[in-house]
Symmetry: C2
Subunit: 335 residues, 2 copies
Amino acid sequence: MNIYDISEKAGVSIATVSRVLNGSSRVSPKTRERVLAVMAQQGYVPNAFARGLGLKSMKTIGLLCPNASDSYLAQALSYLERAFRGNGYDCLLCCTGKKLLDRTKGVEMLLSKHVDGIVLMGSTFVEEDDAGNNYLRCAAAQIPLVLLNGSFAFDNVYCVLCDDYHATLEATQSLLDSGRRNILYLYHSSNFSGKKKLNGYKAGLQSRGIPVRDELIRFYTEDKLNVPDVRDFILAIDREGVAFDAVLTSEDVLSVGAAKYARVANRSVPESLSIIGYNNSNFCLCCEPELTSVDNKLESLCNQCVSTMLNVLAGQESPQKSLFMGELVKRGSTL
Amino acid sequence: MNIYDISEKAGVSIATVSRVLNGSSRVSPKTRERVLAVMAQQGYVPNAFARGLGLKSMKTIGLLCPNASDSYLAQALSYLERAFRGNGYDCLLCCTGKKLLDRTKGVEMLLSKHVDGIVLMGSTFVEEDDAGNNYLRCAAAQIPLVLLNGSFAFDNVYCVLCDDYHATLEATQSLLDSGRRNILYLYHSSNFSGKKKLNGYKAGLQSRGIPVRDELIRFYTEDKLNVPDVRDFILAIDREGVAFDAVLTSEDVLSVGAAKYARVANRSVPESLSIIGYNNSNFCLCCEPELTSVDNKLESLCNQCVSTMLNVLAGQESPQKSLFMGELVKRGSTL
DNA sequence: TACGAATGCGTAAGCGTTTACAAGGAAAGG
DNA sequence: CCTTTCCTTGTAAACGCTTACGCATTCGTA
């Protein structure tokens, strides 16, 4: 069943069928009706490969996601896919893990499938001058790239991100202003936004004249975020003899681990230990007390990603960088 | 940059280039080397549309997912994508919501993109004879379909699922055997596996001679699963005067809500209230005490989906139905 | 040495669309 | 009634690849 069958049954040429297919105005209403009727009756579905060949586009956006099972990224995936599909674009998903090499291969795959644009999720990308990201330059030479939570100054690379630096800075200040002095900072990835957050933490301390102490800055290295393991990780820090009266983390799941730690260590939250997480995810509401967390406006970020992409594809001017402000959502885990 | 450029620079015909591209054995090693060298040097990437036109396949699997932000489905997505890509297939994602109409449109979209096969996630499909699922028949006429957690007896439709009926039955018995008599059953969707679970609950009661009481079976209608709302939902049931000493749910998030309810209602878990969830997700470990839950072997299910799909695509015999057994993982929320 | 088979490669015909160009007819203007 | 213009439609040439078929060349064997 192809365009020829339809043209025959409708008594028109294939060009006319194609024009109907593409909504060209250069078809008389009567003819259009007839062709559409035949299509519907025959259950005709145009061949996307052939269309792609002709149009050089298959209305598809590539999503490069480090890990679809991460609840934050999964949520982002969901927002992005919905918004793109609502605008006539489908999404090709590529989950790559975090390694640069794998991400490079992922981008190549997406390019070979001739996606119209790529959204790179999850900020595994560092600053402008990182040599390892040369492939971004190559990719951007062909199609528009939008980085979600990443930054990379180059033509055709657009960045949409939350100001993680200031958000973390404010969270830190908020802890200090409630009387905390020894804030344990726990983070899980040293990617672009990971670094911003860490810097925000340090700046927060300095803004109140509190010295930055390395033993209070801990990197959780396990790839998988598992609550009991995080709890034990913090417990071990405690047993080292490092004293802390607050835990600030780069992700909510780490904070859940902190809440678990508090329980086994017999410390009351928030009286003896304040906890602040990041992302304002579902996990915050699971704990008792509920977790204070930084809302980094994921839905807004995703919508901006999509509209930026659509604008660029439509040849319209678009901001190279869109920065959103995070917001501290206070709940029971802080004073 | 196309096959002609390469053929010219390598001094061979396009047929030879194509043969190299497809790993045909009908090329001398020397020629192959030369062509590969030119390709690499020129950074040639074959046009997937044209290949698709010729090969009638673009090595792509469509994933139909009701909701990528659901942690269970997100996890499944991640497993599926990884396994498919590891086997040379990419994944086209389509998140549709649960409505039949939307899912139908999603399937049509995937068909028009000529995916090689479709995995339908999330069991929005009911039994064999549901008239609404005619589109599955149509789709299956063209390409293989694999249902994850669904069942539909028809050629070219393969089912991979967990025995939710027996898993829920056993969970119910386990509660009864620990002395509980009034088990509140809370569920969120009445899809295929939702019905199986409900039936398992009823059968569990009956197996111990306990009457099924309608007021203890509650459907949580909100589309979004939000912990505080679930808590209030259960609180309202309590206030109705319906007494229950255990809560069994169709999803962990509902159980988290139950744990929250217990706290505001001043009931101790598990002494005054037992709780069992379903999926054995991360949420179980966030609660205090940790939640007992049914592990429905998601990773195994997903791997089976993939190997079934690959087998069918390779023309090999494959089981029409693959049934896995769930397992009750006991934790602190039960006696 | 001769002949059939096997191998390596090229030619050309698809695959199902889009679209530039052209042509035919109707409407409009003189 | 003849031109001109606009509108609708058709013809045919891409798009970049795969592959059946055919032609040389090489190899093995009698």
